[in-house]
């Protein structure tokens, strides 16, 4: 199974054991700074009164990251955070960052991160962006970006070509991402 999903749509998904027990829900995803890969899921408890949990779910302990739930073999897969693992940007952390092209043009604001999810890995492939200088516009588009991801809480930097390959929604996003890849290869050659 392979699918695209926004981080905002992953947040709140249940973490379920193969026994069918929901042991937590996803609070956020931690992405590797260099490769944009999902390294860790941070968690909150389930139910109205439960807040954030200290324990995290590292990617290596995930049985499957599905469209409707994150599956784990059992409760012991949720562990105390390891300092080396929880460093990196959170998926929702870049929301609000300004999208700058490498030419220094501000094209909008990040409203979400798009993940490509495969059987054995998941990684960032683009942003949901509200267009317009400082995000003042009304149009929201899906913008593919190449790896490695250049992002801080303040800015994300994208190639100029990314702006040409935006789509209205996730339908057609893969094709746009392939188009961007081709365009960048041609630029480089």
């Amino acid at each position: 199974m392979r699918f695209l999903i926004r981080v905002a749509d992953v947040v709140g998904r249940p973490v379920v054991t193969l026994n069918g027990d929901a042991i937590a829900q996803v609070k956020d995803v931690v992405l590797g700074a260099a490769d944009g890969r999902v390294k860790t899921f941070t968690l909150s408890g389930r139910g109205l009164m439960s807040g954030p949990l200290r324990e995290v779910l590292p990617w290596r302990n995930v049985r499957a990251f599905g469209p409707d739930a994150v599956m784990v073999v059992n409760r012991s897969m949720v562990v105390e955070p390891d300092e080396t693992e929880s460093t990196g940007g959170t998926g929702s952390g870049v929301s609000g960052a300004a999208v700058l092209t490498v030419e220094g043009e501000d094209v909008g604001r990040v409203t979400d991160v798009i993940l490509d999810v495969a059987d054995d890995a998941a990684w960032a492939v683009g942003y949901e962006v509200r267009l317009g200088r400082h995000g003042a516009g009304r149009a929201t588009v899906m913008m593919p970006v190449p790896l490695p991801i250049a992002a801080t809480r303040e800015h994300v930097v994208v190639p100029v070509a990314s702006v040409r390959f935006t789509t209205e929604d996730l339908t057609g996003f893969r094709e746009a991402a392939r188009g961007l890849e081709r365009a960048l290869r041609e630029e480089a050659s």
């Binding site: 199974m1 392979r2 379920v16 069918g20 929901a22 469209p67």
Partner: protein
């Protein structure tokens, strides 16, 4: 073959004394092999779990058990009180297939035959677990390649 809907609310009667023990309120499933492990019975003492081995017959009008050997396991402390019907049906790949509407089992040996959702009938042998949140089955790549492009695949 019996459906969950056929046995729910049936009286449970001891074959040796003809005593009415209670009525069926559910079934508890277990994997490997997929089967009915307990029958959930409401008795005068409360909610109890009768092991499948104690069940002599599941008839059209009553569930017969071998002896009045109660009290049976207290369902509220065993932590296994939750039945499959009404729960989400998830695959081990994290895909939701719907809600479990019906469960079919072989009344001779308790083998789980199928799980039914509004859209599908799934092989009971695929069962991995029944928990507080969901019934989990192996994915087995049913309907592969439905790559979700719509993004908000929130079900």
């Amino acid at each position: 073959m019996k459906r969950f809907g056929d046995v729910i609310r049936l009286p449970v009667v001891a074959a040796d004394t003809a005593e009415r023990v209670g009525k069926v309120t559910g079934v508890v499933l277990a994997p490997a092999p997929a089967r009915v492990e307990f029958v959930h019975v409401h008795t005068v003492r409360g909610d109890e779990l009768v092991a499948w081995a104690e069940v002599r017959a599941i008839g059209p009008d009553a569930v017969m058990i071998n002896h009045v050997a109660g009290p049976f396991a207290d369902a509220s402390v065993s932590g296994r009180q939750s039945g499959p019907v009404g729960k989400s049906l998830l695959t081990d790949r994290g895909r939701r297939l719907g809600e479990v509407r019906e469960v079919t089992f072989d009344e001779e040996d308790g083998r789980l035959v199928s799980l039914t959702t509004a859209a599908d009938v799934l092989d009971g042998a695929r069962l991995l677990g029944v928990g507080d949140f969901a019934v989990v089955i192996t994915d087995q790549a049913i309907r592969e390649a439905d790559e979700s492009g719509s993004g908000s695949a929130s079900g």
